[in-house]
């Protein structure tokens, strides 16, 4: 049942916005619905709930109270009867104790200090809880349970009396009051006999060993007590939900009033649309409105809601009339689980901030630099900059799609020179270098596009919210720890972990120099090929034909000048053909290219 607050008058757009903000509450309910549907066939886990307690409350028990009203034959009694012990005991049959006539096992003893009905009496009745009548039947009929009355009054001798539970059971079964759920009272005469008692402890249970005395000195007449036993079924009370909160004198005309009075009812007020509007819902049996789990009490609900439904803030309040919970949405933008439509969560910037590792020194790094006005820092330093220095990836943005095809072609010139430098800076290099790079550039874009077809161009995909966060703080390159310029931060290029070509070339040459059984020319070809493969990202077998052709075109001019190099190159191609990664036609094409270079080379000499 929901009630709406319609105090505010909203325009059409506002209405839509309001509905949207209300739908935030619906999303978790949808999720739980789905989970529950799945759990019907495939129960996933046992949620900790106090269901056993709730069920136990609904279990029926018999509450029995035993009291003594009077002594029938008073003359027999020499001393005071009290204190009188009432025990609910079970016959112990397996203990072979010869001289005792009866051995009973019991847990606790209730003391009666007076008869019922006497004013100022401390304890006049003993209470016991027995299982429900049907469960009791088995026990009772076995004849092993009994109520014992024990009095230590008469000097050395004791008196004891016994009421077998069987008789009680039968009378309760027959009692009309009892079956209607009302109190049934029985008055029984109980004979008390004198005896010798011994109490022992046997495996946590206390044992009472009774030896009947047939003493000729005592009168044969035993003491008779009138015992009142009243019993009623409890737990049945909880069935009616109207009882706990009954307030007399309230005119319960409207339905809502009655519902508020029920014990397990909780009112939920959902605040939405910037807390301007409110919608109300009532749940029964202390159940949670989102996941529908039944909590045993209001306290249980109070713990369950913040623990399991983290998206919302809860305020709990209880009055005489009702128990209510105000629900509002948590506005923590860092932890938004709700993904708006059309936004691919994989495209979102992912931040990691570990608060424990906040190093004070690094914070000072930022602050000091700010005070000293260093020349090369562009953007203003934010006070929160210290946190981000702890980031694992110092200046980089983790995004799903990295380099688009178009971008890659643009950045090829830079790969010939230096890694990590954006295209604009390349212009400051000397002309000779550029020419070299341009010649390389012409060959590669068409072929590369074929590899990079599946890569998306991600330039338009950045979330505006994430962009503002990027602009606020100072970022540092992750390897060099130099501050990053804003355009580097906002660019899509991630250069930090790219292989540094110059250094890689150096390493390659060094590695090749280590070989002792390879000629200089072979090493040169190896180096050129390694360098080419690395820069052009020749990764798969299928790339080799193109790579061979491109290599021939790229280095053809130099190769034809040194016949030894051509020889090594041809050997390499044969090796590739041997391995099956180069086909004959491509090899032919490569050789044709080399021939053309040779012709060009020899032509100027001729003409």
């Amino acid at each position: 049942m929901c009630r709406e607050d319609s105090c505010l008058h909203l325009s059409a757009e506002e209405e839509i916005a309001a509905e949207e903000s209300l739908s935030i509450y619906c999303k978790p309910v949808e999720l739980y619905n789905i989970l529950q549907r799945r759990a019907v066939r495939n129960p996933s886990f046992l949620q900790r709930c106090l269901r056993y307690k709730i069920q136990a409350k609904h279990n029926m028990r018999i509450q029995m109270s035993v009291s003594v009203s009077r002594i029938v034959n008073e003359a027999v009694l020499t001393q005071s009867l009290f204190p009188l012990y009432i025990l609910l005991a079970r016959v112990v049959s397996d203990v072979a104790v010869a001289e005792y006539s009866a051995v009973y096992r019991f847990r606790r003893a209730c003391i009666l200090t007076s008869f019922t009905g006497i004013e100022g009496s401390n304890q006049a009745q003993a209470n016991f809880i027995l299982p429900e009548i049907n469960k009791l039947a088995v026990e009772a009929k076995s004849g092993s349970l009994a109520i014992l009355l024990v009095s230590f009054a008469n000097g050395g001798c004791c008196l004891w009396g016994r009421i077998p539970l069987e008789s009680l059971y039968f009378s309760w079964e027959k009692s009309p009051n009892f079956s209607l759920g009302q109190r049934a009272e029985l008055r029984l005469p109980v004979d008390m006999h004198s005896c010798l008692l011994k109490l022992t402890c046997l495996n946590e249970d206390k044992c009472i060993l009774i030896q009947n005395l047939s003493n000729s000195l005592l009168t044969n007449q035993s003491l008779q007590l009138q015992v009142i036993i009243s019993a009623e079924e409890v737990g049945a009370k909880e069935k009616s939900p109207y009882n706990s909160y009954t307030c007399s004198g309230i005119s319960s005309s409207s339905l809502s009033h009655i519902i508020q009075l029920r014990a397990g009812n909780v009112i939920f007020n959902y605040r939405y649309f910037n807390n301007k509007l409110q919608r109300t819902e009532v749940t029964e049996d202390f159940s949670c409105p989102f996941c529908l789990v039944k909590c045993a009490s209001f306290k249980g609900l109070r713990h369950h809601l913040p623990a399991s439904h983290d998206l919302f803030n809860f305020e709990f309040w209880v009055t005489e009339e009702y128990q209510a919970v105000n629900v509002s949405v948590k506005t923590d933008s860092w932890r938004s689980e709700i993904v708006a439509d059309g936004v691919d969560p994989k495209q979102h910037t992912f931040f990691f901030c570990s608060k424990q590792m906040r190093r004070r020194r690094q914070k000072n790094l930022v602050q000091n630099a700010r005070h000293v006005r260093p020349v090369f820092m562009e953007s203003k330093l934010h006070a929160g900059g210290g946190e981000l220095l702890d980031k694992v990836h110092g200046g980089t943005i983790l995004q799903n799609s990295r380099i688009g095809a178009v971008e890659y072609a643009q950045h090829l010139p830079s790969s010939f020179n230096v890694a990590g430098v954006s295209g604009a800076v390349g212009q400051s290099y000397s002309d000779s270098e550029r020419i070299q790079s341009v010649s390389g550039n012409n060959l590669t874009p068409p072929a590369l596009l074929q590899f990079a077809k599946t890569r998306k161009i991600s330039m338009e995909r950045s979330d505006p919210r994430n962009r503002t966060l990027l602009q606020k703080q100072q970022f540092f390159h992750s390897h060099r720890a130099q501050p990053m310029a804003m355009d580097q931060v906002m660019s899509d290029r991630d250069s930090e972990d790219e292989v540094d070509d110059d250094v890689a070339d150096l390493e390659d040459r060094r590695m090749l120099d280590d070989f002792v059984d390879v000629t200089k020319d072979e090493k040169q070809i190896m180096h050129l090929w390694n360098s080419f493969v690395r820069k052009q990202r020749v990764l798969a077998d299928g790339h080799i034909p193109w790579a061979c052709e491109a290599f021939s075109k790229l280095h053809g001019r130099d190769l034809v000048k040194a016949p030894a190099l051509i020889w090594c190159w041809r050997l390499l191609m044969i090796k590739l053909w041997n391995h099956g990664v180069l086909d004959a036609r491509t090899m032919n094409n490569c050789n044709i290219v080399l021939e053309q270079y040779q012709k060009q080379d020899s032509d100027p000499a001729k003409g």
Binding site: R361, N364, L365, Q367, N368, A369, H371, V372, R373, P374, V375, F376, E378, N417, V418, A419, G420, V421, S422, V425, S428, F476, H477, H479, R480, A481, Q482, P483, M484, A485, Q488, D500, D502, V503, L506, R510, D513, D514
Partner: protein, 370 residues
């Protein structure tokens, strides 16, 4: 350490002072209570050969040694961060000759102070931990090299503010780098040593184009393509403990550890491969009670003598270019008891300064011989 063949054992100097020169305390300054970790004369600019700088705590002070033992305080700079503790200072200069005082310490930021107009010129951010030593390339005084606790050595250009090279990586130091020095004549070579007990020699030859490029870089310094030099050309395991100071002596290296001696040795590098060079230990200069780390020695301009303090406040002045080593003088004063972290020898070796753990600066002048 390999067993030295017979006849090739290092020559150990004798501790009996030859008294070739005698020194006398001419001044003593107390610069606050904090330990002074470095004192350096300005050998970059001949106009300022008697100017020196000290660092301690968050303060950098520039003094001048005058006649008669007088020390004049010229400038003093204080870092705004009270917790900064400078460990090292060096003199550098701009391409037009303006003197720079370069200081760095525990915060890991290198402060380049323009001493001519007393303003901070640049701050270099980049090292990941405290900086233990900064040295200037005498052949190109705009280049400085810094050794840091973050196990790397970085080459910076103070003129343009660029971090040019980072000497770290697979072949780099495996613990704090405590000291670094430029080769006096070979502009490409530097030697570094540290807590991993090794001395490593690096070559910048293949990357020299970047060094030159750094002078003409017009774009943002952070966009400069800083290169990683991962492999040294030579590594020596001469010492068995922290090596906290090393200096080139021509093509030889003077290095000291915490075992009470300075070792002079020759690195013999194999052309192609780095790991196969050998170190030939030539001489040893004993320095008693010098077994705590972060005590550095200094040499005069022409590397004729080296002065080193110890933890008892005594200074030993060794003659470097004689074999067997000759102890020129042993300086001690009854009131000088605090460990001497660094000494500074003047241009001609006539003045020796030392800075101590208790914040004092002692000035010893050579007694003129008649």
């Amino acid at each position: 350490m390999a067993k030295t063949p017979i006849g090739l054992e290092p020559v150990v100097g004798s501790l009996t002072s030859s008294k070739k020169r005698e020194y006398r305390v001419t001044n003593r300054l107390q610069e606050g209570k904090r330990p002074l970790y470095a004192v350096v004369y300005n050998f970059i600019d001949s106009r300022y050969f008697n100017v020196f700088a000290t660092v301690g705590g968050n303060r950098v002070t520039v003094y001048q040694c005058l006649e008669g033992g007088v020390i004049a305080v010229l400038q003093s700079y204080v870092d705004e961060d009270k917790d900064e503790s400078f460990y090292t200072v060096s003199w550098a200069c701009n391409v037009d000759g303006t003197p720079f005082v370069v200081a760095a310490g525990i915060n890991g930021i290198i402060r380049v102070i323009d001493a001519s107009n007393e303003k901070i010129h640049k701050s270099f951010v980049g090292h990941g931990d405290s900086i233990n030593e900064i040295r200037t390339q005498p052949l190109k005084p705009s280049l400085i090299v810094s050794a840091s606790k973050d196990e790397s050595v970085r080459l910076w250009n103070v003129h343009t503010g660029i971090c040019i090279l980072i000497f770290a990586g697979a072949g780099g130091h495996r613990n704090e780098v405590l000291s670094v020095d430029f080769h006096p004549s070979d502009i490409y070579r530097i030697a570094s040593c540290g807590m991993d007990n090794t001395v490593k020699i690096w070559s910048m030859k293949e990357f020299w184009t970047y060094v030159e490029k750094s002078f003409t870089w017009t774009d943002l310094p952070s966009k400069f393509p800083t290169k990683y030099v991962q492999f040294p050309v030579f590594l020596a395991s001469i010492h068995s403990n922290y090596v906290d100071c090393n200096r080139w002596l021509g093509d030889f290296i003077l290095s000291k550890s915490v075992d009470n001696e300075i070792v002079l040795w020759e690195p013999k590098m194999k052309e192609q491969s780095a790991g196969e060079g050998t170190a030939d230990i030539l001489q040893k200069y004993p320095v008693p009670e010098c077994d705590i780390w972060f005590i550095k020695f200094s040499c005069d301009f022409h590397y004729n003598s080296a002065a080193i303090g110890n933890r008892e406040g005594k200074i030993f002045v060794w003659e470097l270019q004689s074999s067997p080593p000759v102890l020129i003088a042993r300086l001690s004063h009854t009131q000088s008891k605090s460990p001497i972290r660094q000494t500074a020898t003047s241009f001609d070796g006539s003045t020796i300064l030392c800075c101590c753990e208790d914040g004092t600066i002692w000035r010893w002048d050579a007694v003129p011989t008649n």
